[in-house]
């Protein structure tokens, strides 16, 4: 069915999001009988260390964990309040199934499993194996990410598994693989304060990776210059030595323009280029035409800014380049990243202290989640599903015939398009809220409604789970043991603080039981998640992301280990590419010439304004968790449209007025926030909210041809002043999609 059983407001009434404001046991003081569980934040890729205060199998608060080296006790507001997701009134505690006209009813696990397995078998026998798809997430532990890939390939034998990292790290990963031959931040964060110039492109660090702020400020105390590229003056840009308010989609103008000047003025490392790289001549040729004036037109900023950026970057003794979704969420996302990385390699400032490169991973396990084989084209250990050697090795680990492993399947956006086109009939989803997080949300909702059967594993009834036939009550991060891999490539331990409530189960147990009932019990019988990690170690052995030398005990003792870690006793590899040794078989970095091209949808007369989307500090991704925590919702209670006074004046819009932001695909009505800190040709709407408050009603689902990341960061819209909406969705609480 996969249609809402009743209208959204009725589902909100029963399942929330409602706001949790007071911890379990009330605002009590710390007591003697509490235990402190050292674990990590469940939200972003920084994976800050935190101690959860636990009493009577309930998480009652937190205590900073100052000894964990990455964040040394520091947290952002999401980390401070993360404990409030436990003991939440909205929590799913039983499996539930859809009842037409009524909503959802609780069912037994046995019945739920029978239905799910029966539907998988019916759909696969009727339409073929690939007609049942799997969507997963990069907030899953390494163990679960690995298990989901194995589940799809072994138990379902479907090619169609992909994950929400497709909306996050794939452009950066693909670019890194092409240039460096590996997909990981090249340096530990401890190298940042040692750099004398830092370039951060498309990275709202203060709001999306707040812990990184202190590393950057510390670099500046040590004399570093800071260059920021962003269409908006974010908090980290306010004090930058050079803020370049680049036009969305214009980043290549800045990067190629900088490289043009570096070459012209001799600020490149000829010896390094000669000894450790390939393709420089073609690269140099490609940037010849990127004079400051030509680059300026592409970037939409004065030529002097590009010259100044080159003058800061070029002669510096050490440097660190980092980027995030701002340059990656484009149909040329991979090219944007490669153009940035070319600046790193051309100056030879990589692979040594204070010299480096990083992509700022967004999701909790954004790094590990893209290594363990839950991508449509990938097997564990960052192996390639179309490589016969790789297939053979993994088939051996799993004890199956190589021929039984599916080939490459569809990535997230084409997968949803195949559902819309009626080619995929069944779906199991975990850790993914595509109704809020995917672009072109109206299309996504239409697609889900076409499924014959949809089952979700979730701990809350997310906006996507509302479309499910059966929802299986899964586990929160603090209810299971496992590992994640943080932004630096450091593999760390998440520890179980409490058990799942009532009948909710650990996610991996749910998957193993489905696999068992499908006839693969022998391949999915793990006594605990630790044994999944033990198998993952072997599956990753010899791969690029080699975890073989890591054990949970080693991770516990060491505050985490960096991959590759090929042997037990190996210290791990905090810094990659030392001594100019890169990941390609020839050991060299491969320069990638990049030519600017327009975005898929450029502003025109009908839709004259650029819409770009992003995050706010108090919310995380689709808000499934953070829109349920009172303090975080209070901080930014509803989305808004940031616009420059000059643009606002043109439409007669004042600060706080309602404004309709409308693209060819849909619209959103939110409050205007009139600020001078954004380009006058661009508006910004954060995307954490659902339904009529979803910025993704407007965004474009065009994808990068290499990474298949959607173009969240630019689409064309028109603006108009609006009246306050008063329909039934608008009247919902703000965290559910209402407006006030």
């Amino acid at each position: 069915m996969a249609k809402l059983p009743v209208e959204a407001p009725e589902l909100v009434r029963v399942f929330g999001p409602t706001l949790h404001r007071v911890p379990a046991g009330g605002w009590s003081r710390t007591t003697e009988d509490e235990k402190l569980v050292k674990t990590h934040c469940c939200f972003c890729g920084q994976q800050c260390g935190i101690q959860l205060r636990v009493q009577d199998n309930k998480v009652v608060g937190f205590e900073p964990w100052e000894d964990f080296p990455f964040n040394r006790g520091k947290l952002c507001p999401k980390g401070v309040k993360r404990y409030m997701q436990a003991e939440h009134p909205d929590r799913l505690k039983h499996p539930i199934q859809r009842v037409e006209g009524a909503g959802f009813e609780a069912i037994s696990w046995d019945f739920a499993m029978q239905r799910v397995v029966g539907e998988i078998q019916r759909i696969q026998s009727t339409y073929g194996k690939d007609a049942f798809a799997v969507l997963t997430g990069a907030s899953l532990t390494n163990e679960k990410a690995y298990l989901m890939g194995k589940f799809a390939r072994v138990a379902l034998q479907t090619a169609n598994i992909d994950y929400n990292g497709r909306l996050c790290m794939v452009s950066a990963g693909a670019a890194s693989k092409k240039v460096f031959g590996m997909d990981r931040s090249a340096n530990p964060w401890s190298d940042i304060p040692k750099a004398k110039v830092i370039l951060a492109a498309g990275a709202n660090i203060a709001e999306c990776a707040p812990i990184t702020t202190d590393y950057i400020w510390q670099a500046r105390e040590n004399g570093a210059k800071l260059i920021i590229l962003d269409p908006r003056m974010t908090p980290i840009a306010r004090n930058a030595d050079l803020f370049i308010p680049v036009r969305p989609g214009g980043d290549i103008g800045v990067f190629n323009g900088m490289l043009h000047i570096l070459i012209e003025r001799g600020w490149i490392d000829r010896k390094f280029i000669e000894e450790h790289t390939t393709g420089f001549d073609q690269l140099a040729e490609s940037v010849k035409k990127y004079t400051p004036e030509y680059s300026s037109k592409i970037a939409g900023v004065p030529a002097e800014m590009i010259v100044k950026a080159a003058e800061l970057w070029g002669p510096a003794p050490t440097s660190f380049l980092m980027h995030a979704r701002g340059i990656e969420h484009h149909t040329k996302g991979v090219d944007n990243c490669m153009a940035a990385i070319n600046l790193v390699v051309a100056t030879g400032r990589i692979g040594r202290e204070g010299c480096g490169y990083a992509m700022i991973t967004g999701q909790g396990n954004g790094q590990g989640g893209r290594e363990q084989g839950q991508k449509c084209d990938q097997l564990p250990g960052s192996r390639d599903i179309s490589n016969p050697e790789h297939r053979k090795y993994i088939a051996g680990v799993w004890g199956v015939e190589e021929a039984s492993l599916p080939q490459k399947g569809l990535s997230a956006i084409p997968l949803v398009e195949a559902i819309h086109a009626g080619k995929i009939k069944g779906l199991v989803s975990i850790c993914f809220n595509p109704v809020v997080s995917l672009p072109d949300a109206n299309f996504v909702r239409e697609a889900l409604e076409k499924l014959e059967f949809f089952t979700c594993i979730d701990f809350f009834l997310s906006e996507t789970a509302r479309y499910a036939d059966v929802v299986l009550a899964g586990s929160l991060m603090e209810e299971d043991e496992g590992t994640t891999t943080n932004v630096e490539g450091r593999v760390i331990r998440h520890r179980k603080a409490v058990t799942p409530p009532v009948e909710a189960r650990e996610d991996w147990k749910i998957i193993c039981e489905i696999a068992g009932r499908l006839g693969y019990a022998d391949k999915f019988s793990y006594p605990s998640s630790k044994e999944i990690f033990e198998e993952l170690r072997i599956a990753s052995k010899g791969g690029v992301s080699d975890y073989y030398g890591m054990t949970w005990d080693r991770l516990d003792e060491s505050n985490g280990l960096f991959w590759p870690c090929p042997e037990v006793g190996h210290p791990g590899t905090p810094r990659l590419y030392e001594n100019g040794k890169f990941g390609h078989p020839d050991g060299r970095a491969h320069f990638m010439p990049v030519e600017w091209r327009p975005s898929d949808e450029m502003p025109d007369e009908e839709y004259p304004v650029i819409l770009t989307t992003g995050r706010v500090v108090s919310q995380f991704l689709s808000g499934t968790q953070t829109r349920r925590i009172g303090a975080l919702v209070d901080q930014t209670s509803q989305p808004f449209c940031e616009m420059h006074p000059r643009l606002a004046d043109k439409y007669g819009i004042g600060d706080g007025d309602f404004v309709k932001v409308e693209s060819r695909r849909g619209n959103v009505v939110v409050h205007a926030k009139v600020v001078k800190t954004i380009r006058p040709d661009t508006v910004f709407v954060p995307y954490h909210w659902p339904l009529d408050r979803s910025a993704n009603n407007c965004t474009n689902r065009a994808i990068d041809p290499v990474s298949n990341i959607p173009e969240f960061k630019i689409c064309a819209v028109r603006l108009s002043k609006a009246d306050q909406p008063t329909d039934s969705i608008a009247m919902l609480e703000v965290q559910a999609g209402g407006v006030r």
């Binding site: 964040n71 401070v80 308010p245 000059r646 600060d655 600020v675 380009r679 006058p680």
Partner: protein
């Protein structure tokens, strides 16, 4: 190494409100945040500023309290009002040059930042300075702050004619020895202000 002190660096603040949320987790007033996080003028810039109690050497709030309800500990931490004494008159709220004390109508009492006395008195850092991800709020030794920062810490203030010395330091440029705050006209006309440095449109002047 000297004992730990509190340092505020407004230039580092990113407005994330980790301090606001963590303050509400302090055992002595769990559930209520005592810190102030000011957004200066959002239309003009993204500048924000955290404000904890500065713990004045001679606290004006205590001086003006008619009920003698505000006490300073021997180690210089100015406490919230004493419940049996506080009459909720809000003299302290009005007199504080930093705008720190809050009158809590629900309990008819003034409460304020006590530098997480339950933590700082036993050698732990205050909650806000522990979690602050930007280092805008830092609780460390004087030697450490001098070693790691370009600016210098000062704790001497002048508000018009009134001189104030505080336990808490603020980071300022090296040439500054005292923070001098003149009485300013609140509603200055825009033309009297310097060209605003944070207007992105001005940075793009001359572009198509």
């Amino acid at each position: 190494m000297s004992e730990a002190a509190f340092f505020i660096d407004y230039s580092r603040c990113i407005g994330c409100e980790a301090c606001v949320n963590a303050c509400a987790e302090c055992d002595t007033h769990r559930g209520t945040s005592m810190i102030h996080l000011e957004t200066i003028e959002r239309r003009e810039s993204v500048q924000t500023a955290p404000q904890i109690c500065m713990h004045c050497e001679d606290p004006i709030c205590a001086q003006v309290c008619p009920a003698d309800a505000i006490k300073k500990t021997p180690d210089g931490v100015v406490q919230s009002s004493l419940k049996p004494r506080c009459i909720g008159c809000s003299n302290c709220v009005l007199s504080c040059p930093f705008g720190v004390p809050k009158y809590m109508s629900g309990i008819d009492q003034m409460m304020k930042c006590d530098m997480c006395y339950d933590r700082s008195s036993v050698g732990k850092k205050p909650m806000c300075a522990t979690v602050c991800p930007s280092g805008a709020l830092t609780y460390t030794s004087m030697e450490e702050i001098q070693r790691t920062r370009q600016g210098i810490p000062v704790n001497s203030w002048k508000f018009g004619a009134e001189e104030v010395k505080t336990k808490v330091y603020v980071m300022v440029p090296r040439e500054v020895t005292r923070v001098e705050i003149e009485l300013v006209q609140i509603h200055t006309t825009p033309s009297a202000l310097p060209n605003d440095p944070y207007d992105v449109a001005l940075m793009l002047e001359g572009m198509e």
